[in-house]
């Protein structure tokens, strides 16, 4: 059994010191890898990421993260990435990595993602430059996510996002703000490339469980949704499975 721990939207600030450490100390007994689904900080300041890095220090499991919109607010995303990576926490920016966990090769493709809405109620690449830029940003990230996933030749493939790829995990949010919470372009890219599980955050009032139109499970791991320090998702080890591969291609 390989076990994936994940949480998003920790919104760490300098007032958060120690608030997650007790739970994180138990993580190595519960999981083989720890994924952080963006909005790591309260308002995107470097001293806030330092507080979170202190909390994550010395955990003997691989730790990977994507950034969220909060990390971009004051324009310090670059120093935040440097600080995370300096502490051994890999930041996936429309990129992928492969880990060997308990004889199983696990590929993780990550992207912040962006908004735009969902089929039938979404923005279009049309009109003012600002509107085109909004939609094109999402489309570009979705294209890169597709490429990153497609190049993963691993037993298990995970997509780690901040924004939501489906509406399912937004249940509980006001429908008017769905276009600011995610985009069908992300879900479409994942369905076309294939994956075994998608993890995202961002939708604090959403629901944990969802599925893409292509049948890939989606989990919203925003801290306010899961109501605990992290969730754990498990997969059978390679030798235990009769059939390997992805849910959808």
């Amino acid at each position: 059994m390989i076990r994936i721990a994940a949480v998003g939207d920790t919104h760490f600030g300098i007032d958060s010191h120690g608030t997650l450490r007790r739970a994180f100390e138990q993580l190595p007994d519960l999981a083989d890898v720890f994924l952080l689904a963006g909005d790591l900080t309260r308002i995107g300041h470097v001293d806030e990421i330092r507080a979170l890095v202190d909390e994550l220090a010395d955990l003997p499991v691989p730790r990977l993260a994507v950034l969220g919109n909060h990390e971009f607010h004051p324009g310090q995303a670059g120093p935040i990435i440097e600080h995370l990576e300096g502490a051994g926490i890999a930041v996936l920016e429309v990129s992928a990595t492969v880990l060997d966990l308990r004889r199983t090769r696990v590929g993780i493709a990550g992207s912040k993602g962006f908004g735009g809405g969902f089929a039938g109620a979404c923005g279009s690449d049309f009109g003012e430059p600002e509107m085109k830029a909004f939609v094109r940003h999402t489309r570009q990230l979705a294209d890169h996510l597709h490429q990153a996933l497609e190049h993963l030749d691993t037993d298990v493939r995970l997509a780690l996002l901040h924004y939501a790829p489906v509406k399912d995990t937004l249940r509980g949010e006001r429908a008017e703000i769905y276009p600011f919470l995610g985009s069908y372009l992300l879900g479409e890219a994942i369905d076309h490339a294939g994956a075994d599980l998608v993890l995202h955050g961002h939708a604090h009032h959403g629901a944990e469980h969802g599925v893409t139109p292509g049948g890939i499970p989606v989990r919203n791991v925003a801290l306010p949704v899961i109501g605990q320090a992290f969730n754990v998702y498990s997969f059978e080890e390679r030798e235990d499975r009769a059939v390997l591969g992805t849910v959808a291609r």
Binding site: T19, R22, L30, H45, H73, Q228, A229, Y233, S234, F235
Partner: protein, 90 residues
Amino acid sequence: MNRVPEPSDEPVQYVVAHVRDVLANDDRVGALDLGIKIVGQAVFLTGWVTTSERLHAAEDVVREVLPDHDVHNQLHVLPRDPPADAETVR
């Protein structure tokens, strides 16, 4: 300090929107998802925050921008326990 337009002159939905902007941009809070409801001179704050400091800071910010209102702080601090079990995906 960010102040909203004089509430007595402003439709309540605009006041709520201004308060939401202030809570999002104030370094003490930085939250975009708090519930804000104004009924007469009462402001109700609802939702979850990650620390008790932020719970009180949100109330302080609203008192600063709407000094003539009564603030009812119904925020909660999120639990941060480790999970008791795992979900088997496959």
